[in-house]
């Protein structure tokens, strides 16, 4: 997204040259944005069926695909645990699935260094489908008895929502690297 000229036109002194991104924001924003995305579906509506995409997981995959190596491999442990506390899944399901996703994405990263939008989306689609099915399986083992057809609509929403979440992640990434801290 390119800003129109009147917004970027420099007027007066340019205080840009001695600015740097804040290390706190640059390191912390991915974690914060994923945690917020985990909270969001619960706050958005009181649903009587699984309808909203698992936004926390989508944001996690989005960050891993946009900036491989920015989040450490163990990031799925704390972030997945946080998601479990609010998602209603049995505790541990998120930790396991998020950690496995991070490992899978790293393997994809090493095997396919050159990727385009379609390949990234296809990889994400595979992960989303596997995630939703396994999450359903874990919930069912832990006592529920939900049929697979209950999550078909959610699967479609999640797959379609992924590029949008990826775009949001990209916006957050730009914010993350905005130089606003002054160097003295």
């Amino acid at each position: 997204m390119k800003l129109p000229a009147f917004l970027t036109a420099d007027e007066g002194p340019r205080p840009r040259i001695n600015r740097t991104p804040s290390p706190l924001v640059a390191r912390g924003l991915p974690w914060l944005s994923i945690a917020l995305a985990s909270l969001l579906p619960g706050l958005a509506m009181i649903a009587s069926a699984p309808v909203l995409p698992p936004l926390g997981f989508l944001a996690f995959v989005g960050w891993l695909q946009l900036r491989p190596g920015l989040l450490p491999m163990w990031a799925g442990l704390p972030l997945g645990l946080f998601d479990d506390l609010y998602s209603g899944q049995p505790v541990g399901s998120g930790v396991l699935l998020w950690s496995l996703s991070a490992i899978v994405l790293d393997l994809v990263e090493t095997r396919l260094p050159w990727r385009n939008f379609v390949i990234e989306w296809l990889v994400a689609i595979g992960l989303i489908i596997a995630y939703l099915l396994l999450a359903l399986a874990f919930a069912n083992i832990a006592g529920a008895a939900t049929p697979v057809r209950a999550i078909v609509a959610q699967m479609v929403f999640s797959i379609l929502a992924y590029p949008l979440v990826g775009h949001m992640v990209a916006v957050a990434d730009r914010l993350r690297l905005t130089p606003f801290r002054e160097i003295r």
């Binding site: 619960g42 009587s48 799925g76 049929p147």
Partner: protein
């Protein structure tokens, strides 16, 4: 996207170790997840204190968004009411909905009364709610159907209390924090509520189907007496749910029961009432034989 910097660690010991530790940490994360999952499957409720604390922590945000949701919904219903020849009609429809539910409730109470009078008047509790609170959040992305209620042990809410709205049964409390409580909605597939048909008392079980509908399973097998549009109310068998609380309308008949739609759709529920656990009068004790033991 261009491949990032070279990933080979080369001969640098430091780089080799950090790569190794990074991968090991990833695998350890997965193993910890598997261990937690096994614990939470084999010992349900082991982590409920953490979930209750989490719900308590996020309560201010959840209350704010719940209020925002209410405003948005009100706005939407006003707009739709305007298009349906003014907001008055939307209000009247809402009132009519409540009145219809009340009517069903009264009919059920009437039937109940008749039955109980035959048993020499047993009902005696006052039926006042323990607490009135908003449903603040829910698990909209999981297949489990939990909601969070903005009232907890501080307000007198306890584990296992039935939760209802003005329109019908919503669920029951599962774990209770200080200022919030997790509610198992009746659409969750683990929720099982004894019900009966409001008109004549055909007994059945209502189990959540997980997709927003409810599966009605008849207790008496044989000819399926259910019809589309029948209203099921709780029967109170086994205690817990107060008898006569409206619950679901049948929308589709299947071989051994029916599929029903919930009356109190939680997304339309502004305020929920927490009720006392309903306990049926214990049957008179059997004549005890000589109770003293040697």
């Amino acid at each position: 996207m261009a491949p990032p910097a070279n990933r080979r660690s080369g001969f640098s010991r430091r780089a080799q170790y950090s790569t190794f530790i990074n991968y090991s940490a990833g695998v350890v994360g997965a193993l910890v997840g598997a261990a937690l999952l096994i614990v939470s499957i084999t010992q349900p409720g082991f982590f409920s204190f953490m979930q209750a604390a989490a719900a308590d922590t996020s309560r201010p945000a959840a209350e704010a968004t719940a209020a925002g949701r209410g405003v948005t919904k009100g706005l939407l219903s006003d707009v739709s009411g305007f298009f349906k020849t003014a907001g008055e009609r939307a209000r009247l429809e809402r009132e009519l909905d409540i009145a219809k539910t009340r009517l069903i409730e009264l009919r059920a109470v009437e039937a109940e009364n008749r039955r109980l009078k035959a048993l020499l008047g047993i009902m005696q509790d006052d039926g006042r709610p323990v607490a009135v609170a908003r449903l603040t959040s829910s698990t909209a992305s999981s297949t489990r159907r939990f909601a969070t209620l903005g009232a907890g042990s501080r307000d007198g809410v306890q584990k296992g209390m039935p939760v209802r709205s003005a329109l019908g049964l919503v669920g029951r409390t599962l774990d209770v924090g200080a200022s919030s409580a997790r509610v198992l909605l009746i659409t969750d597939s683990e929720s099982l509520v004894p019900v009966r048909r409001a008109r004549d008392g055909v007994p059945a079980f209502a189990q959540g189907a997980g997709d927003g509908t409810i599966r009605i399973r008849l207790i008496n097998l044989g000819i399926n007496p259910l019809r589309k549009g029948d209203v099921m109310v709780t029967s109170g068998s086994g205690g817990l749910y107060r008898p006569g609380t409206p619950m679901a309308v049948i929308t589709e008949i299947v071989r051994d029961g029916a599929i029903a739609r919930v009356l109190a759709n939680p997304s339309d529920t502004d305020f929920a009432l927490v009720e006392r656990v309903w306990a049926p009068e214990a049957p008179p004790p059997a004549v005890t034989p000589e109770a003293d033991s040697p």
